[in-house]
Amino acid sequence: MSDEEEDLILDELDDEELVLQMYDDLYDGMADEIDEAVRILLKREWQPYDILTKALVEGMRIVGIDFRDGILFVPEVLLAAGAMKKGMAILKPLLIETGAPQLGKMVIGTVKGDIHDIGKNLVAMMMEGAGFEVFDLGINNPVEDYIDAIKREKADILGMSALLTTTMPYMKIVIDTMVEQGIRDDYIVLVGGAPLNEEFGKAIGSDAYCRDAAVAVETAKEFMARKHNQRA
């Protein structure tokens, strides 16, 4: 990073420059700078929802593209996510107060036998950022936890994640149980995780395989729009 950038005073940037700077700071995982920029935008009377979507989510979308293209790797994405999380921590209570739009509700969790939650946590964060309410079941979830939660939470979407080839078949057990209970079509089922692919997603009866958090958000929005159209 150049000296010029190090000396940057965020408060002196106009809104457009500041948002662009936030993209850079998210990309570089600079959590303190994101914290400061979010507070500046709030002081300038930006709506919390606009800060979230136009600055943070858009910035993370760029991070997601470069991760997909092999320019960024997991550590950089985690640092970026950490920075976004810091910004979201400021915005979350304000979003509740200001009644930001809710696009739908998702129950998400890592499947039984699997304790890996990095991807799942990223998806949960991006979904929240995009305006979904997220109920996170955490790791190592048996089928009954998923089924109980989607019913109890009146979820629109069930998200399942697995990192291991040994645990990913468990997603089919969950979907088959939903079919047996006659509730499969009441929910959008999205699956993801490093060893999965589109074929696997189709074969187990999910609605879609999402290769990364940004794709999960776009896919969820698309399915929710279809759901609304069906109801209309």
Binding site: P75, L78, L79, I115, I139, A194, N197
Partner: protein, 190 residues
């Protein structure tokens, strides 16, 4: 009958040790880079390219990989290529023995083999960015409860290296001697 063992680089020492131990002179070893494990989606294409290059030069080609995070894609590719591979999800499993590993059902253990104990920094610590950002450690490893070193050999230096790795990751340490597990049995049938 000449057989090519097309193996993951992480198995090179072990395969060569088995060649020597059993005097398997009909086998040759060719390894693909072990760091393919950092991008497992690239393994099927890399294996296919190596199999196609070796075809005609050997009577038989055997792929010394397990599924290794490819989600069944490597098995499907091997089937297309008409070559056999090792059964099981990964080397941790076949070193311990696939049946025993599955029966144990451990989900909160992080495993090292001899290779990974030797190459911990190059294959775990640095690729995960922990050399530059140690603060990410608990994001990666916070859900693990222990580090299990599955030892292929009796080597005090490696045990100490594995123990140091456990300390770096903040996990309790356990050592289990596995020897070569199913690897020896599978290669022995070729």
């Amino acid at each position: 009958m000449k057989t090519l063992i097309l193996a993951c680089g992480a198995l090179a020492r072990e395969v060569l040790a088995l060649f020597e131990l059993n005097n398997w002179q009909h086998m040759e070893l060719h390894c693909l880079p072990a760091d393919l494990h950092l991008r497992p989606e690239k393994i099927p294409d890399a294996v296919a390219a190596a199999v196609n290059e070796a075809r005609g030069k050997y009577d038989r080609i055997f792929v010394a990989y397990a599924d290794c995070g490819t989600g069944g894609l490597l098995a499907a590719r091997c089937q297309e290529l008409g070559v056999d591979m090792i059964e099981g999800p990964h080397c941790y499993s076949f070193f311990e023995g696939n049946a025993a590993f599955a029966a144990r059902g451990e989900v909160t253990s992080f495993y090292l083999t001899d290779f990974l104990a030797r190459q911990f920094d190059a294959f775990v610590w640095k690729p995960m960015g922990l050399d530059k950002h140690p603060e990410l450690r608990d994001i990666y490893f916070g859900n693990y409860e222990k580090l299990v070193y599955l030892a292929q050999t009796e080597d005090e230096a490696l045990t100490q290296a594995a123990q140091r790795a456990a300390e770096k990751l903040g996990l309790p340490f356990e050592r289990r001697f596995t020897g070569y597990g199913d690897l020896g049995a599978v290669l022995g049938k070729l």
